[in-house]
């Protein structure tokens, strides 16, 4: 009877294949292994549809996007002859005339195939201003009356400018580090080293720093607001705690867009926040809170507050009040008891809440787009802008790459140190 019970079968000694006393060593353990194998296979098959769907709708899209950051065959595809002609070039000065002739032939062909605009755009992404020069040269090559392609190329100063040929030579390698370096305001210099781009071209480092600054400010603000409230909710009687927790959950359950919309109403020049500031005497005139950094931080703090508070609260409510009583009875002052007994235990919850809020803030898009001004746009807004306005997928991909590395690194720390179960809210 007992031999039939599953718990007996699940015994690790059997699972490892060690035969039980008296059993036929071959058949029993083999049958068990087969059964376990089938069990595993079945559970894998149950999970397979969702895993496949996620690979299709989430995994492949992201890998494809990231690959655009390092793989850009547009220039290499459009300039096959030039690639060959540049193979032996040392990168110094101008290449031999053969390279000019090859480029002219490639340009004419790309015009004939209708890919000239793509090429012009790809070169322009690496060398601002290249687009118009490429298109101009292509037109001249097309209507060349008696002039040789080489003469036309030499007549356009752009093709003899110092930066042009190194850029073309770089572009003929389909695998490129150009965009990833650009996303960090870096570039290759003529000596093959990496250097900072000139200050007037630097954009992204500042945007990353801004994103980190806003994320840190919001994290600190949510902790200052959330920790005391979590402590209060964990300390009051159950009924009152339930009412207070609803006050936290109602905004939590309202979508980010709706809450952002509410803040656009509140932060108007004649909105409620300005009314309040005037009435309290904190401001002598109405402030421009919309399209400002401070307005953005206030709105993001409101949206993120429950994310910081709930993990803290879920730890606090597991701490038995008797511990603090014990500390008091042993003579600890309230502050000492709080610092030495309470705080070390809630620390993982504080870490979880703060890290979660920080991670989520790095990816904010909606709120900066609607409440931030031009100088408050975060890295996600730049990614969207490169896709929607500039049509520069490579740059969008490179910025995504770096943002994702930061996000996943922090998520990895979270999962490693704090455990995924801390992601659970309430």
């Amino acid at each position: 009877m007992s031999a039939l019970q599953p718990s007996e079968l699940d015994r690790p000694a059997l699972a490892r294949g060690r035969p039980a006393a008296g059993a036929d060593p071959g058949t029993a353990s083999a049958a068990l292994r087969r059964a376990e194998f089938g069990d595993r296979l079945r559970s894998l098959a149950l999970a397979a549809p969702l895993l496949l769907l996620l690979a299709l709708s989430f995994g492949i899209p992201i890998v494809l996007l990231l690959s655009r950051a390092v793989y850009d065959p547009t220039i290499a595809d459009a300039l096959p002859r030039t690639s060959v002609a540049l193979a032996g070039w040392n990168g110094q000065g101008l290449p031999a005339d053969a390279a000019f002739t090859a480029l002219a032939a490639d340009l004419s062909e790309s015009q004939a195939k209708g890919t000239a605009y793509e090429l012009a755009k790809a070169l322009n992404a690496r060398l601002p201003g290249a687009r118009s020069q490429v298109l101009k040269t292509v037109r001249q090559l097309e209507g060349a009356a008696g002039k040789s392609p080489l003469e036309i190329m030499k007549a356009v100063p752009f093709w003899s400018a110092p930066a042009t040929w190194p850029t073309i030579a770089n572009g003929t390698h389909a695998i490129t580090s150009f965009y990833l370096l650009s996303a960090l305001d870096l570039r290759w210099n003529a000596d093959g080293g990496i250097e900072r781009v000139p200050p007037e071209q630097a954009i992204f480092l500042q945007v990353f720093l801004r994103t980190f600054f806003v994320a840190a400010a919001v994290t600190i603000a949510t902790l200052l607001l959330g920790f005391p409230l979590a402590y209060l909710i964990a300390s009051v009687p159950k009924g009152l705690a339930a009412i207070l927790i609803v006050a936290v959950l109602l905004p939590f359950w309202t979508s980010i867009l709706v809450r952002t919309a509410a803040w656009t109403v509140l932060l108007q020049k004649f909105g409620l926040v300005n009314d309040l500031l005037l009435w309290l005497g904190f401001a002598s005139e109405r402030l421009d809170l919309m399209y400002s950094r401070i307005g953005l931080i206030i709105a993001m703090t409101h949206i993120q507050l429950p994310f910081t508070l709930l993990p803290i609260y879920s730890v606090m409510r597991t701490i038995a009040p008797s511990q603090m009583k014990a500390a008091y009875s042993l003579g600890a002052k309230p502050f000492t008891a709080f610092r030495r007994v309470y705080l070390p235990q809630v620390f993982p919850g504080v870490m979880a809440g703060c890290l979660l809020t920080f991670i989520l803030c790095l990816g904010y898009y909606i709120t900066p787009a609607l409440i931030g001004g031009a100088s408050d746009q975060l890295i996600s807004n730049f990614i969207a802008n490169y896709v929607n306005v500039e049509l520069n997928w490579e740059m969008a991909a490179a910025l995504s790459f770096i943002l994702l590395v930061f996000t996943l690194a922090l998520f990895g720390i979270f999962a490693r140190i704090l455990g995924l179960e801390r992601l659970k809210m309430v």
């Binding site: 999970a47 709708s57 992201i62």
Partner: protein, 275 residues
């Protein structure tokens, strides 16, 4: 436990300050989400208190004009599609993961949760890039697939929680009694974990219904959803119709999520009762 047994006056002051601070924090939490509600019933076209008068004219705009009606219709199509797929596949996956012998459980779980962590713009831009190649851009299918990735983690987690209280011996008993696996699932397991499944479904619905970034990249002009219509409206010109739409959306998410949480709690209550 706010006060020690023999509180000093200083301690009383500290506790009073704690209450005061928390009162302000609660105002900060609640006032912003409640503000659009009275404004949506304002008869005037401005966002200033006191209200000019009560009217439902902005709700008539949202529920009566073709632009908003089509947006609400699109939102419902996408949200129902997402809920159906995410709940079905998420439940199956949660069942698979509840088996300790599931290979690579420690790797699969972070992967399943990663759509919640990856910045949504990256998901949206990636889907836009990939779906354009395979002909899924500007289709409901494409939007629903992308939303399923965002919504399914909630289903896996909620159903997973209700499964921790499920006694697997019941399935063995059903098998011994002659039930085929499918029959055992529908007649034994599903009724017991149903609160968790429905709660996961409600989370999935709200996730999809509220989502705006993926839709912004994937939807054609005719597929604008309610949040996208709101987003566009907020960028162009602030109209009180937006406060009406916001109030409707807020009401829907809050009602659904209250139900979801009551169901989840009921599932856990059952677990406490059975365990």
């Amino acid at each position: 436990m706010l006060l020690s047994p023999y509180p000093t006056p200083g301690e009383r002051i500290r506790v009073a300050l704690l209450w005061l601070w928390c009162g302000l924090v609660i105002l900060f939490l609640l006032v912003p989400i409640l503000i659009p509600v009275p404004l949506s019933f304002n008869s005037g076209a401005f966002f200033v208190f006191p209200l000019e008068g009560l009217s439902t004219r902005w709700y008539e705009v949202v529920l009566g004009t073709q632009r908003w009606q089509s947006a609400i219709g699109n939102s419902l199509i996408v949200a129902f599609g997402t809920t159906l797929i995410a709940t079905t596949l998420g439940t199956l996956t949660a069942i698979a993961l509840s088996n300790e012998k599931f290979p690579g459980r420690r790797i699969v779980m972070p992967l399943l949760l990663s759509p919640l962590i990856v910045p949504v713009v990256i998901t949206a831009v990636g889907s836009y890039l990939f779906y354009a190649r395979i002909g899924l851009a500007s289709t409901y299918t494409g939007i629903i697939l992308a939303h399923t990735a965002l919504a399914s983690p909630f289903v896996v987690v909620t159903v997973g929680a209700s499964l921790t209280g499920f006694d697997r011996n019941l399935m063995r008993a059903a098998a011994i009694s002659g039930a085929k696996p499918l029959a055992a699932f529908f007649r034994v397991m599903l009724p017991l974990i149903l609160p968790g499944v429905l709660s996961g479904a409600a989370f999935a619905f709200v996730t999809s219904f509220d989502e705006v970034v993926v839709v912004q990249f994937l939807a054609s002009a005719g597929q604008r959803t309610m949040p996208l219509e709101m987003f566009i409206g907020l960028r162009e010109k602030l109209s009180p119709a937006i406060t009406a739409a916001a109030t409707l959306m807020m009401a829907l998410s809050i009602v659904l999520l209250v139900v979801a949480n009551l169901l989840a709690r009921r599932g856990q209550g059952r677990r406490a009762a059975s365990g």
